[in-house]
Symmetry: C3
Subunit: 279 residues, 3 copies
């Protein structure tokens, strides 16, 4: 605890640097940081948002006092609605490539982080929001009847990339994942718990971040060296190594598909609809 008075805290640094990501040290346990996604209204994953999230995780990893992080939405309701459509509509190939590379970097940062990572899913979490959740080490979700989670890309006419699907299969199994991907399923909280997409549901009367803290503390009872070694050299090793072999081509595929006139047409209609709604 003493260190809070001796050096600038992570939270004070981050609050200055990154407005869409707020990083705080948990008041009850200074080994645990809270990373709050703060890009209203839907925490869309824009290039800037993703760069700030990557930086926030990187900063915490370099802080030798921090061993765990809780990823949550600053405002409950929407955890993250997924990729920012404005990064995909009307952009040239270069911009598309930069956006996708940033998404890859941020994902890999989270997925292989030496920090123990808990997703405190306090809102709906489709597509890219689901990806962030399933890339953490543990998932608790607020038990709200309207909250949903899943890789629903096909419902929007898109194909979830293979590196979204690997951790999805890891959580819910091959068959459940195949069915859900074909249908673009968004699971209710109860269904997500039943199939293993989340580890636990949290009553709305409880503070979800406090529950996440309790779980993180259980994982921190294991020495960091052993937990990190297991994560990076055993359970997530194959996916991390495989990702390195496909990431370049994955960018090219994204650029190619999203540049397609039909896809741009569909995105354009969607953007018009969003603008009409927001008036």
């Amino acid at each position: 605890m003493l260190r809070r008075f001796l050096k600038p805290t992570v939270s004070s640094i981050s609050k200055r640097a990154a407005s869409s990501i707020i990083t705080e040290i948990h008041p009850e346990n200074d080994e645990v940081a809270i990373v709050k996604m703060n890009a209203p209204p839907i925490n869309a994953l824009s290039k800037t948002f993703l760069a700030e999230l990557e930086l926030a995780i990187d900063t915490l990893e370099k802080d030798e006092d921090v061993r765990a992080m809780i990823l949550t939405a600053n405002r409950p309701g929407i955890f993250s609605a997924g990729l920012d459509i404005f990064e995909m509509y009307g952009k040239d190939k270069e911009s598309l490539g930069e956006f996708w590379t940033q998404l890859q970097n941020t994902w890999l940062k989270l997925y292989k982080s030496p920090l123990m990572t808990v997703a405190a899913i306090n809102g709906t979490s489709p597509a890219g929001g689901c990806l962030l959740s399933i890339s953490c080490d543990y998932r608790v979700m607020a038990d709200h009847k309207k909250f949903q989670i899943g890789l629903n890309e096909t419902k929007l006419g898109l194909v979830a990339p293979p590196w979204f699907v690997k951790p999805y299969v890891s959580c819910i199994g091959e068959r459940e994942a195949e069915k859900a991907l074909y249908l673009g399923t968004l699971y209710s909280v109860d269904d997500a718990l039943k199939i293993g997409l989340i580890d636990e549901k949290v009553d709305l009367k409880e503070n979800i971040v406090d529950v996440a803290l309790e779980r993180a503390e259980q994982f921190l009872e294991v020495p960091d060296f052993a937990r990190i070694g297991t994560k990076q050299s055993i359970t997530r090793k194959d996916t991390i190594e495989w990702f390195d072999t496909i990431r370049e081509k994955d960018v090219a595929v994204f650029q190619h598909i999203v540049s397609d006139k039909k896809v741009q047409g569909a995105l354009g209609m969607y953007v018009q609809m969003l603008k009409a709604k927001s008036k």
Copy 2:
């Protein structure tokens, strides 16, 4: 609907061309075809049967109006009893190779079909019959206490080939599959549902093809491009690519094993038994 009057329907073509496979367009939804296996008494997978099934699927794939197919037995009771023993008994290596290659082709056609495929399992479905079922995108099975399903090859002294086993593992998981393969388990409908080998059981009072249609229509709410891309480039991609690397050797292994004198002896006794029964 109009097209029915303007061009020969798939069903009329197929009825002419292939007696062991009957293809019809569903009367309530002309995007959905029904493929009825019609080789009494047991829908044994002979070379001719398999060639006709491959052709039927191929014809449907080329019909731009058709988006889904329901695979079922023309007569309830036996979905398919699996490979035709008369293709294996007393045949030379060349014939064995041709038979196995046809089985591979038909399987691959079904497994990677761009059509949304539903198995309407209205009878017992061992071995090769189970393979057809687990290669579809969705499985409903009639809730009859005598109906069974599973890869029971070991009970007959045979080893299920690795490409039978991949989709089996995908449905029921590694451990359940290992145990079932060692024991040659045939699951009851309830057990099949419990372990995920089928997705749903259908009361005998209901029309199983109508239930299959309803499910197909749910999958068809997703744009074809996204569903097909997910199937061929994501969930089934690894198995499709891997199959290409092993299929030649797989034919040679089959020829070698089935040409063995002991195996021929066992098959011969089995054939005698069948002939005695049928008198």
Copy 3:
């Protein structure tokens, strides 16, 4: 049965040769051997113990009358507490390498054995004890409220090697395994049954070896050729082949980690604690 009088039985041979492993033929079925681990107080996996276990399995494999083996502890309470710490503390690299190579050899012998193998887990079974269990073809466990099972290496500051983890994932799935490895979970008998780490629990009033025998007999209804072919060429093939490509490096990693001064320091403290306890 006649053979018992005509040639020295496996059990009489083994009893002479190996004091830490007792091999007997089951009195009710001479196709089934019982391999009793007998290195009190905890059946620690020392180099000698492992060599004797490998020899016992090898001897049974060469006995054409034996088709199955039941692995159990001679005294109930502790099935096996895992690796012998005295093989790791204060040893030079060569000794460490020899120990680890023996562990690899014994594991591979058991994992790919043509014998049908049942673990009759009549006591607590952490770490290496769990490895022996999950490498068998079937697992029954005595229903004692104090008995536990799991790969709890991280709790001791160690990382379970990847070839411990493959059969663990195979039994309980990727997500359950990941969570359990991070936490170093030891499961109760009920929890182990629920997640599929064991196949069955056995009431303490029953004779666990008799239950194991019954289960073995079910598996032996399938012809050996088909069961063994399925095990070695299908379900366990990928892991067996992959192990061959990593085993050399795996020895080097073990030598490197365990030679580390910090690890030796931790082991030293643990050894002191054990000595204090035993006074």
